[in-house]
Amino acid sequence: MRFGRNKLNPTSVGARSRSRSASTPVRGLVALVAAAAPATAQDPSLEQRVQQLEQQNAELQRRLGAVAEEIEGFRLRDIVPGVGESRFGLGPAASKVYAKEQGLSIGGYGEVLFTQNSGATDVLDAQRLITYFGYKFSDRWVFNSEIEFEHGSTGGGGTVAIEFAYVDYLWREELAFRAGFLLMPMGLVNELHEPISFLPASRPQTETRIIPSTWREIGAGIFGEAGGFAYKLFGVGGLDGEDFSDAGIRGGRQSGARAQADDFAAVARLDWVGTDGLLLGASAYHGDAGQDHLDGAVRITDMSTTVVDVHAEYRTGPWVLRGLYATAVVEDAGTFNTRTGANLARRMQGWYVEGGVDVLALAGRETRQALTPFVRYEQVDTQAWMPGGFAPVRARDNEILTVGLNWKPIEQIVFKFDYERWIRGDDRANVLMGFVF
C-alpha cells in the first residue's frame, strides 16, 4: 500500500506560492532559515518521504506483530485452556490444560522374517502387518484397536484377526475403565509386542506356550496408577480347555471368535513404575476352562486354570535387561486326559532372561543408530508336573539359547539377526525386518 507517494503535497505547493509573492525582507529571512536547515525547509519531498517511511514502518511493525501472533497461535492451537483435574502423566503446569477433544490416530507395525531351520524347510514369511486405529471422542472417551494380518494371505494359511478393540473411559489417573476386546495384561510381550520392543526375532517360548501371546479375550475392568504402582483388573471370557495339549494352553484361546461363554475368568496385574527405567511386577489369571463341554450328559471337568508370572525390565543408558518366570496350573488335567486321550500337564513352567547393550551409544558415537548385540537364555517345560499315570513328553522340556545382533538405523526400523540353539529341537537362524509407524 502506498501512502500518497504520487500526490502533490499541498503544504509544499502553498509554501512555494507564498515565497514568490512575499516581500524582499521576508524572502531574505526565508533564505536565512533555509541556509540553517536546507534539507527540510527547501526540500519538501524529503519530509514527505520521512512521513511515508514513518507510516510504512509503523504499519510494518503492526503487521509483523500480527503475523507473529498468528504464527504462534497456529503452532499452539492444540492447547485448550481447561478446567478440572489433572491429566494422566502430565506435570503441574499442564494440570489445567487439555488436548484437543477429537482426533484420529493411525499407526501400525510389521515383520518380515526369514528362518533357516537346521532340520526342516527354510521359510520366508510376511509374518505380520498390524494396523492401529484409535479415536479420541473426548478427553475421557477413547477408542483403541488393532487389526492383524498374518502370514501373507488367507489363501496361503494366513489369517486376519482383530488384535484388540476396546473403549476406555479415563475418569482419573487412579481409576479408569476399559471394555471390549482386551489384551490380557500378562507378561512382557503380550501387551507390548512391537518388533522394536524386544531384541531377538522370535518371542520367548514361555510367552508363547504358557502365556499364550498374543492373548486377548472379551471383557471389562478397571486400571490406573497411584503411588508409583500401575494396576489392571479385568473380568474376561474364559479359555476353552478342550484345545489344551501337551504343548501348552495356547490352543485354549478363544480370541472373541464366537467364544464359548459358560466360564469366565479374572486377570490382574500390578507393576512398580516409580523408578526411572525399571518395570517390576506380577500378573495372575484364574478361571474355569471347561466351558460346559459334555461327555454324554456329564460335564467333562471344570478345568480350573491358573497362570501366574513375575516379570522385570530395566533400561539404563545403552543397557537393557529383562526377565520373566511364568507357571500355569490346570486342575483336573488327569480327568481331562482320561476322557479325551490328551497328555495335558497339571503344571507347566518357563523362564527367560534377555539382555543387550547398544555398543554405538556405549562407545560414545554421535549417531541415532543403535547396534545392540544381545543374548537370551530360556527354559520352558509344558510337561513339568504330570497327573498320576501320565508320562511327560520329553521334547516339551527345552532350553533355548539365542544370540544375535539388533540394528536400528532409526528408532522405527529394526533388523534382527540371531541364532537359536535348541537343546531338543531344530536350531534355527533368523533374519527379520521390523518397522513401526
Binding site: V33, A36, A37, T40, A41, E47, V50, Q51, L53, E54, G65, A68, I71, L76, D78, I79, V80, P81, F88, G89, L90, G91, P92, A93, A94, K96, V97, Y98, A99, K100, S105, I106, G134, K136, N144, D168, L192, E194, I196, S197, V273, D276, G277, L279, R315, G317, P318, D358, A361, G364, E366, T367, R368, Q369, A370, P409, I410, E411, Q412, V436
Partner: protein, 249 residues
C-alpha cells in the same frame, strides 16, 4: 522556524523507529492471557513473564540446526522470559509443537540462565495415552545441557512402548536448547558491538535514552535469552555442532 523544528522532530522520531529493530516486546496487560500464557503462569507461579519475539536469519536457522543435529525450519520463535519478583531471571520458556506418531504434542521447555533444561511439561498430547511416558521420565531432562548426552540410550533412557514419544521429546529438547544458544550468541555479539562502539551523544529522540515524542517512557532493553554460561555441576559445557557423518535417518 516552527515548520523546520516540527520537521526535524519528525525526522528524529522516524530515525528512532527505523533504528529500534529489536525484538518486539508485547504489552499484554490489556488482553486476556492466552492458553500458553496460562500454562507458563501455572509453571512459574508468582513470576513475571514477558513474551518476546525473535526472528531468525537464515544463518541462525542453519546454526540452530547444526547444534540440534536436525533441520531447524522455524523462522520465528517466541521466548517467554520469566523473572522472579525481585527481577532476577528465572528461566526462558519455549513452546514446541511437533508430531509424535501421526498426531501432535505440545511441550513447554524451560531453559535456565545457564542454558540447561529447567523442566519439560506436556501441555497437549493428541496420541493415545498409552504412548505418553510417565511424569518421572521427563525429570531426567532437568539440568541437561545441549551435547551428546542429551540423546536416547545415552543420558536419556528409553521407554518401552513409547519409543516414538521419547524420540520426539528428546529432539524437542535439543531443538529448544539449540535455538536458545543461537539467541544467546546473538545477544553476545550485539553486546560486544555496543562495547566496541565509541560513546557518542545520544541523538534527539533515540528511544533508549529519551522518552518518546508522545511522552511515554522508553521501553526496557529487550532481554532475550540469557548469555551462555557454563552449566553447573557435572553437566558438560556447551559443545560445538555434532558431527553426523555416516548417519542414516
Amino acid at each position: 522556524m516552527k515548520v523546520v523544528m516540527s520537521s526535524a522532530r519528525r525526522i528524529g522520531a522516524a530515525l528512532c523507529l527505523l533504528v529500534a529493530g529489536a525484538p518486539a516486546v508485547q504489552d499484554r496487560d490489556d488482553r486476556e492471557p492466552t492458553a500458553a500464557e496460562q500454562a507458563i503462569a501455572r509453571a512459574f507461579p508468582g513470576c513475571k513473564v514477558e513474551r518476546t519475539t525473535a526472528w531468525l536469519t537464515d544463518a541462525e536457522r542453519r546454526r540452530a540446526g547444526e547444534l540440534a543435529g536436525a533441520e531447524f525450519d522455524a523462522s520465528v520463535v517466541f521466548p517467554y522470559v520469566v523473572r522472579d519478583k525481585d527481577g532476577a531471571l528465572r528461566a526462558t520458556a519455549y513452546f514446541d509443537t511437533h508430531r509424535v506418531r501421526t498426531l501432535h504434542e505440545v511441550l513447554l521447555v524451560a531453559v535456565k540462565p545457564d542454558g540447561t533444561v529447567e523442566r519439560i511439561e506436556v501441555l497437549a498430547f493428541l496420541e493415545p495415552k498409552d504412548y505418553l511416558p510417565r511424569a518421572a521420565w521427563y525429570r531426567q531432562f532437568q539440568g541437561r545441557a545441549l551435547g551428546p548426552d542429551l540423546e536416547l540410550r545415552r543420558g536419556i533412557d528409553g521407554v518401552s512402548g513409547a519409543t516414538l514419544t521419547a524420540r520426539a521429546t528428546t529432539d524437542c529438547a535439543r531443538r529448544v536448547l539449540a535455538v536458545h544458544r543461537v539467541l544467546a550468541e546473538r545477544a553476545e555479539k550485539e553486546g560486544a558491538k555496543e562495547r566496541a562502539t565509541p560513546e557518542a551523544p545520544a541523538p534527539e529522540g533515540k528511544a533508549e535514552t529519551k522518552a518518546k515524542p508522545d511522552g511515554t517512557p522508553p521501553p526496557p532493553a529487550a532481554e532475550g535469552p540469557a548469555p551462555r554460561v557454563p552449566p553447573k555441576g557435572g553437566a558438560r559445557p556447551p559443545e560445538e555442532p555434532r558431527a553426523r557423518s555416516g548417519d542414516l535417518r
